[in-house]
Symmetry: D4
Subunit: 248 residues, 8 copies
């Protein structure tokens, strides 16, 4: 809890505007909604500037639906990641204008739109097999009201395809680079741009790629500066951070 809020409540208590018990409730209530099986973090938007996102994988259908139902009563956009067509059918029963992207595996529900920043985000991918992760990043950045431009299939096996797009890519404020296998693309990008590069290793590959480990290690040890890394296949995390930087 930050100092400003603490002081404010203390002031109200001092001035008798708030009883001790009310202060206690205040602290507790505006922070999360207690469901049976979860505590929805309402305070999050205040704290981090972003509403809570629903990580769909491994959640029971009825749990996920309850959360969507609760969040749908509030004026927040909703993003469900790592979800399925089956879940989407259920969600549509509650929120008919929910949108499903089967490749990105996301459900998005847009209820409000804020002013987009003038700058935009570039999402660059090495190969077509990286597309689910790429699109998860795109949908995430979009639901948080960013313009996103996508540059697919420009990996190092035919790096001229990247150089051809480089002039455009450099116009972005922040660049997400998605790559599997040896994960070399972020090093190339980081060496020729003057913008932050968010590298996303993917589990694309086989054998010595060990589920994305080769790409992950390659990106972490990149000899280019200005590159940071998120978890393997974490398109959401990259889109979220890119949005955060784009809005600074």
């Amino acid at each position: 809890m930050n100092e400003t809020i603490l002081k404010q409540v203390l002031n109200q208590v001092k001035e008798g505007k708030l009883s001790i018990d009310e202060a206690m409730i205040q602290f507790r209530d505006f922070e999360y909604k207690e469901l049976d099986f979860a505590k929805i973090d309402n305070h999050r938007q205040l704290r981090t500037g972003y509403p809570e996102v629903i990580f769909g994988q491994g959640k029971a259908n009825e749990h996920l639906l309850s959360i969507v139902e609760y969040m749908n009563q509030r004026e927040n956009n909703i993003l469900v990641t790592r979800t399925t067509a089956e879940v989407y059918e259920l969600v549509k029963g509650i929120v008919p204008d929910a949108v499903f992207d089967p490749l990105a595996r996301t459900i998005t529900i847009r209820k409000v739109s804020t002013q987009k920043p003038e700058s935009h985000i570039a999402v660059v991918s090495a190969g077509t097999s990286d597309m689910p992760v790429t699109l998860e990043a795109v949908r995430t950045a979009e639901i948080f009201d960013n313009e996103v431009r996508v540059y697919n299939d420009v990996g190092v096996a035919g790096i001229h395809r990247f150089y051809d797009k480089l002039g455009e890519i450099k116009k972005a404020r922040v660049i997400v680079v998605v790559a599997g296998m040896e994960g070399a693309l972020p090093s190339i990008v980081g060496g020729v741009v003057d913008k932050p590069v968010i590298a996303v290793p993917t589990s694309v590959g086989y054998g010595a790629s060990f589920g994305g480990l080769s790409a992950l290690l390659g990106m972490l040890t990149s000899c280019a500066s200005g590159v940071s890394v998120v978890n393997i296949d974490n398109g959401f995390g990259a889109g979220y951070l890119a949005s955060m930087i784009n809005k600074l």
Copy 2:
């Protein structure tokens, strides 16, 4: 090579202002300085907005000195990382006002100062043993003309020390978080701020920390959003990226 430069040279060639051979040299010469043992990347500042930095570790003394000597003739600030007092004595022979920080293991030579951004960078560290990495981040961000505020020893074992500083930390534009062992601090920070968090795992720890692996994996799988990760002990990389974001 980006399109703008290509077009420009093509235009000059077309207009006869540049012979083919001159065009070829042009491409070659403004890009790097060929030393016997290295190719100093002069083009880098143009390309990425930052001059080349000297990674001191594993470089022969005479090589490192040649590079410093060459770079010293140009109007760039110079940063040497992972260096030693012994190297510093040699560098002082060439550049008397070089500054050595023994804890950060950096040599800095300031020749120009640009206008600092109004915003600043916060560097937050979990423990006193993380100090070399913390200070490497600080010295890096400073040589690139950023204001840096440091919050040491606020790790999760006594997390109230962090909360006490949180109000201040939130004022930064971008936050570097340095931690070893279980590397939990970036998750805490990422959960309560609305700024990009750059997590730096350190090799501080023993046993199952496996040289920083535990902190690295912990940071990559952080359940907080807005967190990205650089290599183990890579204070320089974090400072560089923080500077890049602070100047957006």
Copy 3:
């Protein structure tokens, strides 16, 4: 075999109350029941204070049923872990009042109840996906006659949810903390309580969580003291140990 029992048998032999052969049988018979495929450890309760528990995973149905059948003739409570609804249907055929918890994946059969200790156990979980492991710990501690209080979904991404419950959590005699991904919650808990913390890493996560490895390493290298760790997803082990400590 401990000294007390050895001495006692020796005494009986000396006094002629026991022949050599009877002594040999004594040693052998009260220790385990030989089935065709297994040796049920009857001596266990005497030795460790707890009856043998049936680890359901990977056991053939007929083997598991034989064991339940045999144990059901004795006045012990029975706990089957890592089991399924299908097995439950079979068990109900033998023991109609067996109880199945599908989320915890446990079958419990209560035949006796001992006096619960006055103190209780807190089980704290980071996220809703950790629930199967959390509930396995809960059901285990309950069948061993402990009061258990559960605090779900209070992980570090929204750590205020934890602090809100901290006052209550501190009232427990021993605290089980269940978390996946970076597994940071035990460090937080361990830093603010004066009770033993049993950390349970879960395999919740993806990519660099490597099946629970990130949480496991994080908990082992926790900078908080008073924290010890059990195997990944080992809710049973944590509940068992918590019961043992709660009853000291």
Copy 4:
């Protein structure tokens, strides 16, 4: 920060006994002592029942001495772990009655003694090479006012040595088991006692022991119940937790 303290301060503020600013200072000041390079966690004893301990490894001598000096002014016992004879000579200059155990690598300074619990702690080690870790656990439990009984060199290669001591070992309230190589001893102990077992893997071994990894994995996957594990070579952590359980 726990609720009780929060309420108390709120009450004082309400009653005008405390100004807002004083309340803020209160929160801040009783929690830690700010040194140049560290924040000493004074609040810790209140929070966890134990004073802060100094982890000596990797700390600069002058830093370590400053911390000892500061802590020496307060009425707390002091424990320095992973330290050296050289540091001890320096500490003796400040605190003449400091005691050094070269095998345990600890410095202890006893200033107060509280009533020991009637129960005691057993520390059991597999081999003589485990002695530094064993003794670190012993010195830790002792400085926190526990009776400790040690059983050395009773590992599984000659397991009759263990069984011979088993009668005695079972009298302890909690048992620390220290072992390297395959780390099998905690499984044996856990299978025959009815007390919590804290397993400490050590880095003793070579080849496939991979710095203690074999013992660590063996202890985590122990088929005995009631066993939990701390970090490789973490004698301090085991002694601390054992003390915590012994005093419940």
Copy 5:
């Protein structure tokens, strides 16, 4: 090719009893049978004393059947490991008296019986889940004409079950010990017998057992002498080696 055979052929060539071409064929033909997809190693029995065994896993049904068919024409016993009931049905079509053990996953075809050695092999297993590996070792040793005695479910969680059988186990000439999880049983056995112990780690376990890695490392770093290790789940290899030692 060993010297004796070489000399013999050279002698026949010298004496004109063998032409050069015949000598070449000799070398080639008695060594293997060339099928389309495989080269059956007929020379093996001469070379190593054992006929080739068929590793069933991953072999196409028609390939496996061809091999069985070819081998069935020779007077060798046949062992197929890692096979299935489906394959067995096919094999029975060719060799009606083939015998299938569904738990061991073996097919055996006995055509000749040699004199068994007077000594026997003990196969000791830690738990009932280790049974498939245990039985693979048993069936292997039996087809090679050894007497095998089995001691199931005597693992370290209730080690008295092992001690009860120890007197019998020590009568064997060589002891196979099968265990998963922490794999501690071979250390216990190796410490109390004067016979070679062949340790077989199994993939039984979960979490930090990492597919048998914990048991494997534990057995390799065993502090007991006289213990050697085969691959994870390699019951066949243990049975084969035990037979070899039993027949010395």
Copy 6:
């Protein structure tokens, strides 16, 4: 982009034969074909001497078909790897004379044939289970117009089978060696031939082979010289490189 092409375009621009815009298009157009979801690398044959190959695994059927359809319009042979019978049925609808090898999991479409080199490639495999990888190498080398000779099932368990073929194998210009499990065969081959050996580790094995890791590490640390290694199961990569060397 290489210098020759750059100079050529510059010359045309200088001589007015090419406008700036035409030059720009030139650079862009002959390099790749932009599909919706991919950028087909037409420039590749010019650049590396080989047309782009389609890695079938993980590609959506409609994407794969579009690529085949586009490439079929050009006079290139086509190779699809890691594909299935189901995909083949679809491809046959477009290209009736496409050929499927179910063991190699390849589709090949031959449209042109160039002169084969006089020398040939040997592909040597350790066991019959390595056949899918072996055949992928064979089909790859064949579609690039090489003569390939295959030597199956000559692994180290019966190494005389290899020596028998050695005279023939040595006649090849380059040798591909495919092996799983301990991957020892390339060491044997490398020690007795004077030709480059391309080692392909396979994922054949179980337990400590860890998905091909044992074979991979074995081949990388081979004490024979002249051996280099490709990714686990990468028959395509070995066939491609062998073709490249065979055609030097």
Copy 7:
């Protein structure tokens, strides 16, 4: 404790020849000698047929000397492994006829000689860098009264050196094979002999040999049968087991 001994003591107790207390002492005293820091396992020779061996590495000099001094009073041969010339100088002060092998790093003290078996042990090594491990195996087998024949430097890089010795090697009763790097030699040996092969991986190598891991995994996954493996660099363990098998 085995049944025979138990019965015998029971008999003596029954017959009044032994008081309860004497029986207790009997159990305790003939089993180990309690030193301050260790429990010397006197019972071991009775139990396993071999006296305890001193693992020198990591033992304090005075501890090691005390153990040697104690053991020297009994009529056992003594073997110290992993020791140094410095320790040897100290040991010579107590036992003048102790023998040091600097390459094997062993001290041996021969006090009794038993009849050697007629069969012998072959120790085969891949390279000269494996010599310390090779000789540790040799010295171990010799002190236990075995004839040992050594075949050095016959690794797979020039495998004809091995085949040349094969005729001799096959005459041994049991074969120890020592190899680093890819560790392929045991597979070759195991494929052509009919004797048990004990494989010893060594840490010889660099890079991807990862301290002996490549050789270890290679040997564990060997496709030859009759091969078992001991820990990396464990020459002692191999020599011990070879002796055990040679004496069966």
Copy 8:
């Protein structure tokens, strides 16, 4: 032993030109020279076209000198790798014109020169820290009579330095690419050349480069074709293989 040689000896035996014993000696003697501690592989040049090379690391000085002395009597060039200035001083005592390259850590002794091939080898390195490995490759290829051209410090952080040299690099017959950290350079090179690329990962880097593992995995999973990999830091292996390919 290959067939040709076998036949030839058989013929001589048949024709009575060779006695059986002489034939046996023939087989044995021309194959290796037996020293006390090693078997020098004279047959190697015949077999693989290359004389044996001395791997200096871990060899005792007197052993290494004996080998050099023996080899110096024959008309072979000599290459010692991984050696030191100290060894060089000793070698100079025997062979005064031996040449030492302190950066490459090689000693070379040239006694004969064969005709170099017309084609040459390119050795390309990513950074100046890779120089020891780079030069080891260069010295190896040179002693085997190849022309080598070196391109240093052209790594992906400033990839324009590489493109500038690409025109030249493509003229080589085979290309060795040396890189540490993320090891991305071979992917870039492999994507733009039509020659075999031999990738050498180096241990240059820190943290998540794990001693060269990141570069190794990156190169193995390279999405460029025509790339194969040798062991970490294995400059010798790359130079040897490049020579082999260059001379095809």
